[in-house]
Structures are given as C-alpha cells and as structure tokens.
C-alpha cells in the first residue's frame, strides 16, 4: 500500500484495456478473414483444376487429387486456425472445454465460410486481375492433378476415342477391359469428359473415364467460341494498359 500511496505504482487507465481489447478483437477478425480467404482459395483452386473430378476415380484418382492440393495454402490455413485458437483461449467458452472442441468449431466455421466465399465471383475476378502478384498466386495455386486429362471427345475409333484438351493437345485415349467407366457410359463425339491414366505426348492409357461435371465445361472446353472471346478481350485490355 505504501508504494500505491507514494505514487510509485499507478493504475492503468480504462482506455488502456479498451485499446488492448480493440486491438485483440481487430487481430482476431483479421485472422478469421484471412483464414476464410485462404480456405476459399483452396476450394476454388481444387474446383478450377478439376481435382474434385480426380477424387471420383478411386485410388489412382486419390493420388491425383493429392498431387493437386495447394500444400502451402493448407499449411497457412492450419497456422491461422492455430493462431485463432490461441487468441480465443482468453475466453471462458474456449478454455472451459478441451482444445479439440474449439479447434473443431473454428475449422467448421472457416470451412463453411470459405466454401461460401468460394461460391461468389471474387476469385474469378481476382484470377483475371492485371496484378502480376495476384496472377502468380492463382497460377501457382491451381495445379493440374497428375494423370488427369479433361477435354472434349473429337471422334471415336476402334481402341477408344480421340480427345482435345483446353490447351489444344490432342490425345488418343486407349480403352481396355480394365478401364473403369460409370454404368451405361457411352462415349459420344463432343462429349466433355475426364480421363485418368498415364500419357505420352499422343496417347492416354485410360484407367478411368467419366463425364465431366457441367460446371467445369466452360473452363475446360477446347477452343470454345465464348472462351476465345474472353481470351481476346483479356489480351486487348492488356495491350491498352501497356
């Protein structure tokens, strides 16, 4: 009490604590929003790369799916989840219960939030932005799953069919008795398909074939008029800004 009476020690003001709370809250909100953005980018990248298509092809597809995962972003998301967990441990609702519960809650909320953000057009717009850094992030994040080929059947032949991919590569797809396809699958010209299997520069040994998800048609259709229009518009915009 002597130290207090002599003024050697003094009370921190109410504002000191309010500022601390404000800074902590701002930090928490920033961490949460960043996590949402990172997770939404992961979901967007997996969708745009066709990785979800690979997941339907059993073990080979699972390997292809894992090859397309953006591990750096996943690590970043996990780090942010841990940061949020540490920040919320000051609250009774968090520390009264096992850490696993709050981590599960944070993960659940950020996955739902990330999925919701991924359904908006924000990533489509950011992917097409003029900013070089943003473009590089999207290019590095959207990785083509290994052994997965997505495109359009051009014509049928005795061993299978020919397909053309978005980057205008043409492959001869070889179907064997071991090739897995959905029940009552019938390859037809102009059909959009996903094929999984090893390839050379001209052939694909098909382990599995599936019709492509309709939402991905516009992205993977080779030389589509609409896509061509978009590509030209983008190129003209770049020339104008240079």
């Amino acid at each position: 009490m002597n130290a207090i009476r002599d003024g050697e020690t003094s009370m921190h003001s109410k504002w000191h604590f309010k500022r601390k709370t404000l800074a902590a809250t701002a930090g928490l909100i920033l961490a949460a929003l960043t996590t949402l953005l990172v997770i939404s980018l992961i979901i967007f990248a997996l969708r745009q790369s066709g990785a979800w298509e690979a997941a339907a092809f059993g073990t080979t597809g699972a390997r292809a799916f894992f090859s397309a995962l953006p591990w750096i972003l996943i690590t970043a998301a996990l780090i942010f989840i841990i940061i949020i967990e540490i920040m919320i441990q000051r609250f009774a609702f968090a520390y009264h219960r096992p850490v696993l519960y709050s981590i599960a809650l944070i993960t659940g909320i950020t996955l739902i939030g990330g999925y919701t953000v991924a359904q908006t057009s924000i990533h489509d717009k950011l992917e097409k932005t003029q900013n070089t850094i943003t473009q590089k992030i999207y290019t590095k994040t959207i990785k083509k799953p290994s052994q997965l080929h997505m495109g359009q059947i051009t014509n049928l032949n005795e061993t299978g069919f020919k397909m053309k991919t978005k980057d205008k590569n043409e492959y001869k797809v070889i179907i064997t008795p071991k090739t897995k396809t959905p029940k009552q699958f019938e390859a037809k010209p102009r059909m959009m398909i996903s094929v999984i299997g090893p390839h050379t520069s001209t052939t694909i040994q098909a382990y599995g074939i599936r019709p492509m998800n309709k939402k991905l048609h516009i992205r993977f259709k080779p030389g589509d008029k609409q896509t061509q229009k978009q590509i030209m518009k983008h190129r003209l915009q770049r020339i104008r800004t240079q």
Binding site: M11, S13, Y95, H96, R97, P98, V99, Y101
Partner: protein, 182 residues
C-alpha cells in the same frame, strides 16, 4: 451493517478510492501468502511474490469486471506471477502446451465431502506436496487449501473443467504413492 463485497470494494477502487484497495489487501493477503507458499514450494520469495501480486492487481484493477467474482481474478494474477517466478528460477519445467487440455476426458465427479478427503490425505499433503509436479500441485492447492471448486480452478488455470478433475485425481494418486514410498 454487512461488510461490502470484494466486488463492491474493487468498484470503489476503480472509481478512484485508492484507499479502499487496502481492504482488499487485508482480506486477501493471508490467502495469497498461503497459496503462493504452497504453489512455489521450493522457493523462498513468497513475500516478494505476494507483493508483486497486489501491485499487479492494483495496476490492472480497471480490467476487472465488477459483475464477476473478484476471487478468481486475483488468483489468476497470483497464478501468472508465480509461474513467472518459476520460469525465472528455471528449477522446474513449465510446459508451454499441455496435452491434457487437448482431448476430452470422462467427467470426474467432484467429491462432495472435501473435508473427509483432505483428512485422508492430510499426512501426504503435509509431507509430499512439494514433490508433486507443478501441473498437479497447483490444482491440489487450489482445491484443498483454497477451497475452490472445479470451475473456479478452471478459470484460474485456464484449463478445461474436465482436465481439472483428471489432474486432481492423478495428484491424489501421486501423493498416496509418494507418501507410501516415504
């Protein structure tokens, strides 16, 4: 006229009545001395540590929410201060992360007859408390000597309520074992 509550006195201190803090010091000094002495076990600087606790409590009094109980708040300050002393002396390991807090545990029932329990363990508590690991010593001290319930201990140590029960049970077993070996 009934004595003012700790929370009412704390509110008066917050409003500028510095002298009112002396009442809180008077009420809590014996408790803090008992708690810190038992918690720190091997360390001789109980008096200095208790002084630090009250200085920190005064400095941070504006962060106290008068709608909540004062006791866990000051014990939390005491816990942090004691942990800092232990870290500085580096004679005991203070775990950064405790795996006990990660997973849920089966709910350990809080014993209703604490006094009977304490009598049963009295000799072990007197002679072997300082030999207990830090993570077990503190909840035992808070439970038996400071007469706290699991929820209050959870608030002070910032660990799950179920982990408090698990640690107290383990501490009791350890005490019995250490006393048996002695």
């Amino acid at each position: 006229m009934t004595d003012p509550t700790d929370e009412a006195i704390a509110q008066r201190v917050q409003n500028g009545e510095t002298e009112a803090f002396a009442q809180l010091v008077e009420r809590y000094e014996p408790k803090m001395m008992r708690y810190i002495r038992r918690f720190l076990a091997h360390y001789e600087d109980t008096q200095d540590t208790v002084q630090d606790v009250f200085i920190k409590a005064y400095q941070n009094i504006q962060s106290f929410d008068a709608s909540r109980r004062f006791s866990p708040w000051i014990y939390r300050i005491a816990h942090n201060t004691a942990i800092n002393v232990i870290k500085k002396r580096a004679r005991e390991a203070v775990p950064f992360f405790d795996a006990d807090t990660l997973f849920p545990h089966p709910v350990a029932k809080q014993e209703t007859n604490k006094l009977a329990e304490m009598n049963e363990l009295k000799d072990a508590l007197d002679s072997c408390l300082d030999k207990l690991k830090l993570t077990y010593r503190e909840p035992i001290v808070l439970y038996f000597f400071e007469d706290m319930d699991y929820k209050s201990i959870s608030d002070i140590m910032r660990i799950p309520v179920t982990t408090v029960g698990v640690r107290i049970n383990r501490a009791k077993k350890q005490l019995k074992k250490l006393y048996g070996e002695k």
